[in-house]
Amino acid sequence: MRAPLSTAIAIAAGIVVLLGYFLPVPELKMIRSMLIDWAVIVAGIAGLIAIIHLVKVHIKKLSSEQNRDYYSLITLIAFFFTLAAGLLLSPSDQRFQQVVTSIQVPVEASLMGVLAISLTYASIRLFQRRKGWMPIIFAVSAVVFLILASGFLSIADQVPLVKTLMSALNMLPVAGARGILLGIALGSLTTGLRILLAADRPYSG
């Protein structure tokens, strides 16, 4: 077996945590809580290492002789400036939180705005080169739920039929969404069990 120690750790930790979900044993729950807390700490350190790796990559890109990426300089300056400011001020400082509200929010929200333009353009071609009934159902569904989201039907709020129709229409996506959720849950279950049974060892790479 490849990486037996790692596999043993993964299986042991996983089984203890899983048993803690279902067995009402206080000791087991305590151990489970402790293991999960350790995992959170390790995940935090992993995140920090990922950031160090990101910085390393940008330093490499900046110092590359052939394909030097001068934009990486912006990233590095922004990173070190933010890090220094955060360490000095602490995350709870209002001035430091402006990093999020005045830089992250405008950039990300504007990207969503660009996405709106792209989706509008894509909407024009929604019916283009589509064969079969499914794309038509998809497009019709999109149109119907856009109308529902626009609130224009609320004009006819006194008409009982409209209210019933809206309720029925609102429930229609639930069936498909429930099927999707169940599929995701079953997939998670299968994947998790494969890891706990050592059929998959994504950590041994």
């Binding site: 959170v40 390790v42 922004a78 005045s102 990300e108 509008t120 856009l146 099927g179």
Partner: protein, 223 residues
């Protein structure tokens, strides 16, 4: 100049830089994107240092009793092993920590999927047929329950890829599963259409909010 105005100016220009991408890829957009990556990475690093390393690792070790200190050394060691992942030659040493993370994560996913989604959604699917519940609107509730249950089953059948071997060469799904999968496609298409409409509405709202910010900022400059 007040600090708020400076930050508003920064936000205003960043908004313009990113929106310029609607005209095509350009260096201004690249500047905004690279700046965003650097700032986000720095911000997350600060958060982790404060909220994980200091709050969960350093402080307990410094202040907790001896047994607690010993227990806190374990995640420290596991985290320290992850540092070896930075170097290709020693990356294998970090596999222990990754195995621990994956094992706990898998167990959490299994437990959550079972208790949160599978049990909950199955219960939700059969709840309309609970005759002990109030008899108010019984027929619409039952009709809705039937549609939802049927839609959920057929949607789930669409994700079922198992098949039986008919003979040496033919592998075929049972006809009932094929029929259910086709019906499930309709429900999934409706759901995806609703999702598209939702994404469209959310993106539109974001664009409107940004345009509103720009208009208000310009108005504030002139007022």
């Amino acid at each position: 100049m007040p600090t708020d105005i400076i930050w508003s100016l920064v936000a205003f220009f960043l908004t313009l830089l990113v929106l310029s991408y609607a005209l095509g890829d350009n260096p201004l957009f690249h500047i905004a994107a690279y700046l965003f990556v650097g700032v986000t990475a720095g911000y997350v690093a600060v958060l982790i240092i404060y909220q994980v390393l200091l709050a969960k690792l350093v402080m307990p070790i410094l202040s907790a009793p001896m047994e607690q200190k010993f227990l806190n050394v374990i995640p420290l060691v596991l985290g320290g092993l992850l540092i070896f992942k930075l170097f290709p030659r020693t990356a294998r040493l970090g596999n222990l920590s990754m195995a621990f993370l994956v094992g706990v994560g898998a167990a959490v996913a299994i437990g959550g999927a079972l208790t949160g989604t599978l049990f909950g959604q199955v219960r939700g699917a059969i709840s309309p047929f609970d005759l002990a519940a109030s008899e108010e609107d019984l027929f619409p509730r039952l009709a809705g329950g039937v549609i939802l249950l049927f839609g959920s089953m057929t949607s789930l059948a669409y994700f079922h890829f198992g098949a039986r071997r008919q003979d040496k060469e033919n592998v075929k799904q049972p006809e009932i599963v094929t029929l259910f999968a086709k019906i499930g496609q309709v429900f999934i298409a409706i759901t995806l259409g609703a999702l598209f409409a939702g994404v469209m509405a959310a993106a539109l709202t974001a664009l409107i909010e940004r345009l509103d910010f720009i208009i208000q900022f310009i108005q504030s400059l002139f007022s």
